[in-house]
Point group: C2
Chain length 596, copies 2
């Protein structure tokens, strides 16, 4: 397997040259003290080293070894504990955390790059800090000061880890049905009883304590999703002086055997009157999760991107080395019995498809992170509101489209390796198995699509779409005179018009037919995704043209080639997607359930 190399050059291109995020950092009230270009560069370099040297080398053996469960304890694969310690000691667990409690306060635009590297190095490992960071976000936004003082510093420094306990056997997408009960105790705490499943890193040996954020219902709670509250339940109770006390009544009943991310523990968690504390208001548990959810959903998208980048690197190395057959143009490698397979147009098609989507995904995830940063760090209300709207619109697309294209990239990389892609030795099949979960957890991609087309499009009357379209249109107008950019700007305009037309049709269909949004959802999300990538590829092409012909001329030239490939070879997919969407729901709903 190729060694993982963090795509630092491309990250800097996106941050500085395309999205000019560095300028945003100095403009925003909440980031200008925390980060500048030099700090960011140093952080990226250091993260690249950790990812490549401390995490990536563990990945394959960790996958084969897996996590082991015995007597309610989970043992992590060889090296994980040490790597986690290295990671924690480097301060990475608190990178995006609140400085008031020991976090580093870095913006998501920077954190997103670090996440991509760690997830690209090993997704099972990367899930541990990811879940901790999510728990911290909820706690920071909704917890009492006392809870924050007690828990955040040790979560940020990695001494303790966090977990999110939502799903139950009969309640996954539909959390309104959860049955875990929380009974109020005299001391203001609660006793939790119930069973949670699919709890990522719910139990392990890498940190001294595990802090669970748990959804549960009070005895008198309203039915459905309006009766859900959020609780903090530590694995080991914490004494008033901050030291560890008694074991709490929460235990890991078993771990799942899964297709991938085998080096992470997916736990059944049993609560038997476990002591917990309310986070936020009673019955506002789902709202307390939303803060965290936009970050986590983007984070899952970034997992897909990390694996997709690893897949590209693997496949590109293989294609340049594997000798097999001859170029259609004639012999390229006369001294050897065959040419490297990169001479074949179809191999290049596969590599460029991965690359066009990966580089698009990197720009997109950073673009969404940029809106998250504005929403969080700006002190201008109008800016915050605009950013919140863009986050609402773009998050489901970032989660679902990046992971769908991420799985595609791992499958394509596997195909480039042929038989070697199917055996474990080359690492490629692990990438496929690991990445597959990103389309499923944190709300399946179908659920993301329903969120986009239902709440964010139909229910919002197209308001968010118009905000996005306004930005793209302004870019088109500003560059409509450029001859160099015409090959990108013209099709971008056509795609924006197509998306607008389809969006209007979808909203109109929904008025007549309650099944119409669901029937169109997944393909609408994809259509939107392609349009966003067209916008960002046009911006990348513009930045590449501005990059000039100096020492990095090859980098910029390659960028333009990939941009062209995206527009000519990938973007026409929108033709099919819009036809699918406009076909409506009739054929979907015509059969009785018994006929399936």
């Amino acid at each position: 397997m190729a060694e993982y190399k963090a795509p630092l050059r491309d990250m800097r291109f996106v941050i500085k040259e395309v999205l000019e995020v560095d300028k945003l950092w100095s403009a925003l009230a909440g980031t200008r003290e925390q980060v500048d270009v030099d700090t960011a560069d140093a952080i990226l370099e250091e993260a690249a080293k950790i990812a490549a040297e401390a995490v990536a080398p563990l990945s394959r053996e960790a996958d084969e070894h897996g996590c082991r469960w015995q007597d309610h304890q989970v043992t992590t694969p060889p090296g994980f504990k040490e790597a986690y310690q290295t990671y924690a000691e480097g301060g990475w667990c608190g990178l995006g955390g609140n400085p008031a409690f020991g976090g580093m306060g870095m913006p998501k635009t920077l954190v997103a790059q670090v996440e991509e590297m760690v997830q690209g190095a090993d997704m099972s490992f990367g899930l541990a800090p990811m879940l901790s960071a999510g728990a911290c976000l909820s706690l920071d936004a909704h917890g009492s000061d006392a809870l924050k003082q007690t828990y955040l510093p040790k979560l940020y420094d990695g001494t303790w880890a966090g977990a999110m306990d939502l799903t139950e056997p009969h309640a996954g997408t539909d959390l309104g049905m959860i049955r875990t009960r929380a009974e109020p105790d005299a001391d203001g705490s609660y006793s939790l009883t119930g069973t949670k499943i699919f709890i990522t890193w719910g139990e392990h040996d890498m940190a001294e304590n595990i802090i669970h954020l748990v959804l549960a219902k009070l005895p008198d709670a309203p039915t459905g999703s309006k009766g859900i509250s959020l609780f903090l339940v530590p694995k080991i109770l914490v004494n008033t002086d901050g030291s560890l006390g008694e074991r709490n009544a929460v235990t890991c009943g078993s771990i799942e055997k899964k297709m991938g991310i085998k080096a992470s523990a997916t736990c059944v968690m049993n609560y038997d009157g476990a002591k917990g504390w309310l986070v936020g208001e009673v019955n506002q548990g789902l709202a307390c999760m939303f803060t965290m959810m936009n970050y986590e959903r983007l984070g899952v998208g970034i997992q897909g991107l990390g694996a997709a980048e690893a897949s590209y690197q693997n496949a590109a190395d293989y294609a340049c080395e594997r000798l097999q057959g001859r170029s259609p143009e004639g012999i390229k490698n006369p001294d050897r019995a065959a040419d490297p397979i990169i001479v074949h147009p179809d191999v290049r098609r596969m590599l460029l498809t991965m690359r066009a989507f990966n580089e698009g995904s990197r720009a997109f995830s950073t673009y969404v992170a940029r809106w998250l940063d504005i929403a969080k760090f700006s002190d201008v209300a109008a800016e915050q509101e605009e950013a919140a709207g863009m986050v609402a619109l773009l998050t489901p697309i970032a989660k679902a489209f990046i992971t769908d294209k991420g799985l595609e990239a791992t499958l394509i990389g596997q195909q480039v390796l042929g038989g070697h892609g199917f055996i474990r030795e080359w690492g490629q099949e692990q990438l496929v198995r690991d990445t597959r979960i990103t389309q499923i957890y944190e709300g399946t991609n179908g659920v993301q699509a329903m969120d986009l087309i239902g709440r964010k499009t139909v229910a919002a009357g197209g308001r968010y779409f118009r905000q996005f379209a306004g930005e793209v249109d302004a870019f088109i107008q500003a560059n409509s005179d450029s001859e160099e950019l015409a090959e990108f700007i013209q099709p971008l305009g056509a795609e924006l018009a197509r998306l607008q037309q389809v969006t209007e049709a979808v909203i109109a269909q929904a008025e007549r037919d309650p099944n119409a949004p669901g029937a169109a959802a997944v393909e609408y999300l994809h259509l939107f995704g392609y349009t966003i990538y067209a916008y960002l590829w046009a911006r990348m092409a513009k930045a590449a043209l501005a990059g000039g012909s100096g020492g990095e001329a090859d980098f910029y030239r390659a960028k333009l080639v990939v941009a062209r490939f995206f527009f000519q070879r990938l973007l026409p997919q929108t033709q099919a997607l819009s036809a699918h969407i406009l076909a409506g729901s009739d054929t979907l709903m015509a059969l009785e359930a018994e006929l399936f």
Copy 2:
């Protein structure tokens, strides 16, 4: 996991109502004595039982257990040996074999259905009879009478098993580079020396002997693919009386750890002066493989279909049972806390996508089998020639398109199951892991696409395409007056015209640009696949309309709904595919290899 149920009703629909294969059986010289409708029905019923009762129940445990290698011996998973014996005793190993040597002489149109059932029950198991049958085909077509007398009867009755030894570490797609040597011995046999890899079921404990068909080069052979000969090398030498003699110098050096088909052994085979016999002419080894290859490639397509059908069954069961959320139309299941997820249009979209491709693939694989039967069993030279042309054209599409859509179906089924699709318990993730290999082995799907666009399209000047187009056009003409069929016939006509236009463009591009065929290959194969399915779905719709309103009205009504779904929701993909193809090779070839 849902229990596997062989789709017998649909198989009968394809055989009798759509393709009227039963009439072909009575018309063909070589089949009219062997098979009629009643025999076929009995065979299908019995195969369905074996698949569901003897094979499918082993699948999950066999996957977890895997094959074990020790001291050059391979131990198969629990139950495999007994199931193989049951299978062999039922006469299934020789189902399509030459009656002159103990085979049952059944046509491929029937054998294809049996294959689908066995592969759908467990692909690892199914590979054993599949590889044996392939070896038998080559041996029957090209071996000497003495070899056939010695080996075929015991291969047909399953006492012995066959294996195909082609790939070497440095020579996969490019077999011209193989290094295994065959030195002639004084007694007319040869001594083989070399290493083969990726040899499916190259070693196991299910049969008393394993008969390897091995590609190797004579000392004075021309370089490249013109210097390859085919040899029969038994694991245990056979005495003149047919009894087993000494162990031959061929051993299994190790088995691969793989993503899927873990219950099958993928072997490294070492030849150390092993005794072998020439099959066919010297240096005609590749040609001797071609006979077998069309059957095996269709067989791999059928593997993809078998798994895709299992995926559909699993997902449809789950969707009807899993309660989660409410119908967009309002509450459907007022007595319970939630509705079954099949109320959701997006879940139906997933199920119908699987079903439309699966039923299309069943019609397609049987359609290709029909041409194979005519080519083999007809005594009319013109018919044989026409059939050979259709087989040449359709085989790469059957292998690649059915397996691409097969993997898609296993992924979609997994998505329907959500988190349960990712854990082993439900069997769905195994289907994904198993099916993935079908896109890779027996010539990657990229290689199939190059075969289609290179040899079968450009090099043939479109001759095979015109033959296919003629048949479709005749169907369109014959049904152009039908109002009931207009919704299928009209778009079919448009798709045929589109494919014709693209085919001509591809042939024209190839004259100017040697990279053009490779650049278009995979998408051209898919475009062709969609057009074939449109043709077969139109024929299925016609048969469904003729099926009437009797006791099976629901079956025929469902068929028409799925046909409509295919035409309205899936077929528009051709718009994107033709745009991709027509974009040419420029963006693919613009970058130097170092810039990847």
